[in-house]
Symmetry: C2
Subunit: 342 residues, 2 copies
């Protein structure tokens, strides 16, 4: 099969790789119908040290079940399924709590002999616990929005849930990437009345307005904080969808005492400001990697009935063989989120 | 009046100071009946640079209203009152949310011309918004437990509330100081079934058992974490009542993914571990300085009917003139918490 491999910063190649085979009786093979490039793929694309062996890329995909192991009971050949961005058994104590991202038997695509999602087929471990069947045809117009459930939309939703967004709230979303925009959508869905979106790329913030943002703050740093303070007097709930220290500082500066920051962007720092000043302000820091599996069934009805349209974050389509172009286009910020199809 | 002043590390003096007078019409003068030394007073006692002017000390006291300003309507001369450890107007947006610690017009005793609590009398700003009348006589046996509401008990309660403790929970309390012990009491009161107390001072952990601790972990660092993991498999709710990085590391090591750490000890660090590892684990960091004012009325009935006895943390009594001895005894860990009376 053809699949994308990263050999170092800026070096993504599409190669012939062995076709995946069932290894464990709980595996399934999924023939990919659609995949995409994640904002988090941009970090290794900017900084991964060069290697000879390469690393299979991609963790967001949907496709058709081609084959399944002897112990797989909930799926059959021909099922259209979406994969959350990590696999999980859906039976351990963490999964039982809805924290599938910490599954005792779970893992990440592209590691430990598991294929990446940016390829023609994927062996999915713990297929029964991981994959969710989609009641649509393989040529459905809903496919992009359904694909968005694998990560970007369920991640945005995780931010809104952990920030405690509820009806009538004022919420700040820091970051106009695809996750930030989906966080806007999620906050709107949970009833937020005023949604400030901090971002400076007009095409993206325009989509943010379509998704429900009521105010766009394009200033950065102290200027951005001053503007948010002017507009609101401070906000109690912030979703930080970037992962840089600057984004966290913006969140802290805009936050009311007693407020909550939910982080969705993988932190690009090891240590952060949790000293006496933040302590005296009673700031809550929450969020983290989304347990996408736990949220997909919850959001699916809204996607199926057309009320939730996260697929709008995909603004350009690439073929599998064009995957390296998709990375470059996203790294250059020409594309918000690249959809990849056979 | 006689009042305690700190002139530098290890240097507390009891001196003659001007008797407090009404300055603002919202002030009241409280004649102190009982005061105490806080664990947080130990930080300056260990590290405060020497000064010529000194700083009035103490922020926990109860006493009798001696005089009040023209705008004070809720208090009268002779009322027995307890003061939360910061003053607040009880009318601003933060107070309305129950976050009196962030009151727009609030402040700390011993700063900005306000007396400290370790003295014979205190001018209390925003007296109506700050002081709570106690329906007991000045010689009540309940005085120590009522005094504990000014900080240590309401702080422990803040930890249990922000950690989300509820019926049947397993909770870890890190630290066997007076705040940690009150956190045990608070967790028990909110229905925690299993309460692990990490501490190594037997007299203190014994009181912790009386307060509701079911397990005492006396090992420190990695050994302590290993023991908590052995006992529980990890805990979802931790109250960190020390403030050191080691205590935070113990909390992180003992925590289940998706768990919550509520911090009660003022952090003795500016930066802490909130990087990718903590992000992937979906750890929530919450807590902070307690809005004591918001909790006093809530806890008062339980103190009045004798079911809540936080006054047991006071294990030695000193006169005002012995306040320097009280500091030394607490710094040397001979005393858990010093009660100071005229």
């Amino acid at each position: 099969m053809r699949a994308a491999m990263m050999y170092g910063a800026g070096d993504v190649r599409v190669e012939d790789r062995p076709d995946p085979k069932i290894i464990q009786p709980t595996d399934a093979i999924v023939r990919t119908l659609a995949s995409c490039v994640c904002g988090s793929d941009m970090w290794p694309f900017q900084s991964m040290p060069a290697t000879d062996t390469g690393r299979p890329m991609g963790h967001e995909f949907l496709g058709i079940v081609e084959e399944s192991g002897a112990d797989v009971t909930g799926l059959k050949t021909g099922d259209l399924v979406v994969a959350p961005f990590t696999y999980s058994d859906n039976t351990c104590d963490y999964c039982a709590k809805g924290l599938h991202i910490s599954c005792r038997n779970g893992g990440r695509y592209g590691f430990d002999g598991v294929d990446g999602g940016q390829g023609e087929a994927v062996r999915v471990p713990h297929a029964d616990g991981t994959l969710i069947t989609l009641p649509v045809a393989a040529d459905s117009q809903l496919l992009p929005s359904l694909l968005a459930l694998s990560d970007v939309m369920t991640t945005g939703h995780h931010g809104a849930v952990t920030a405690g967004v509820s009806r009538g709230d004022t919420v700040l979303v820091v970051g106009d990437g695809a996750v930030g925009l989906c966080a806007v959508l999620a906050a709107k869905r949970l009833g937020a009345e005023r949604i400030l979106l901090a971002g400076r790329h007009t095409a993206r913030t325009d989509l943010g307005r379509v998704f429900g943002a009521t105010d766009v703050v394009s200033e950065r740093g102290d200027e951005g904080i001053a503007r948010i303070q002017d507009l609101t007097g401070g906000v109690a709930k912030v979703i930080e969808a970037v992962g840089t220290r600057q984004a966290l500082d913006t969140a802290l500066g805009a936050l009311l005492d007693g407020g909550t920051i939910s982080r969705l962007g993988v932190p690009q720092y090891e240590q952060g400001p949790i000293g006496p000043a933040e302590f005296m302000r009673n700031i809550t820091l929450t969020g983290g990697a989304s347990p996408a599996r736990a949220y997909i069934e919850q959001l699916l009805p809204d996607v199926l009935d057309g009320t939730l349209t996260p697929g709008r974050v995909f603004d350009q389509e690439f073929t599998f063989d064009q995957t390296p172009d998709a990375y470059r286009a996203m790294a250059d910020r020409q594309v918000l989120k690249a959809l990849i199809t056979p």
